[in-house]
Amino acid sequence: MKIITRFLMSFFLITGMSVYAAEPGTLQITEPWARESPPTMTNGAVYMTLTNTGSETDRLLEGSGEVAETIELHTHIMENHVAKMRKVESIEVATGQPTVLQPGGLHIMLIGLKQPLTAGQTFPLTLRFEKAGEIPVEVTVRGKDADAAEMPQSDGHAHHHHN
């Protein structure tokens, strides 16, 4: 084969493949956290902020790990002040603005925790994205008083805790 043909083939092969592979580091995951388990609770929820700095919309497809029997993606639909929690097949992470998983909204649900979650512990979770692939994270467990940013403090300003 002529060198120019081989060169052109390689060129197109590489650029073609790059369409399927996201540039590394375009999916940022910040502050993955979960609440500590109230007594008797065997379900939990993981929250985080997903930022897509790439050029194409990505999708969180699943979470996996040893922390619970089943891990699913869920959202809350609020209709007339009725909370309806629903499983979703994926969570879209568009470019431009962060996708936030937070209480009352999107979350990764942990069904059948093997151990209750306790404040201060961390546990591993692997997130699988359609484009960005598998990204492992360490989830921090916060105690019930940890997200006390709104609490009025005696010295006049709120303390924001980062565990």
């Binding site: 609440r35 065997t42 379900n43 939990g44 809350h76 609020m78 009725v82 909370a83 979350h107 019930k144």
Partner: protein, 210 residues
Amino acid sequence: MAPRARTLLVAAVAILAFGLGLWLNFGLLPDRVDPPAIAGIFLEPPRSVEDFTLIDQTGQPFTKDRWHGKWTFLYFGYTFCPDVCPLTLLELSKMQKILAQEHLDQNNAYLFISVDPARDTPERLGQYVPYFNPKFQGATGTPEQLAGLAKQFGVYYKIPDAPEGNYTVDHSSTVLLIDPQVRLRAVFTEGQPALMAADFRKILEYDTAH
């Protein structure tokens, strides 16, 4: 009638009418205090709570008599709820602390009613509820009793028809306020602690002004 006499008569009637108007507005009819504007629904007139029987977390019967003489904050949910119920109970707990700081929690009650008695036994409630705040109490009941009570308060919930495994229960996320005369006074639709505390204060002030 002579023109001048008529003018005087008209003037006299006008003055009388004006005087009557002033008297009616400021003297005869009581001052009207506007109902408080809250983030939610303020019930005017209040709605008396009808009889019901629930079971408290110690397994004892629980009737509306327990609500006499105190303000009660009510929330309907279930313990297997991973997100909204812990969130709301934590917000209620923060609200309770704000009220305590403002000396507005002399004798309040805070009650979590589980609409999922199949899984939420009194014993389970007794372990789950105090975690959020030692002042919080739990209760549940038979499906019929729960349905009746929820209907009284306009609270919606739905247990799946064929519940299996880890089923989820849709439910209203509102917080209800019952007064010391055991009447429904308000439905808070926004859970922010400072906002609920402020709305409770407005309702107390409204009651004092009446």
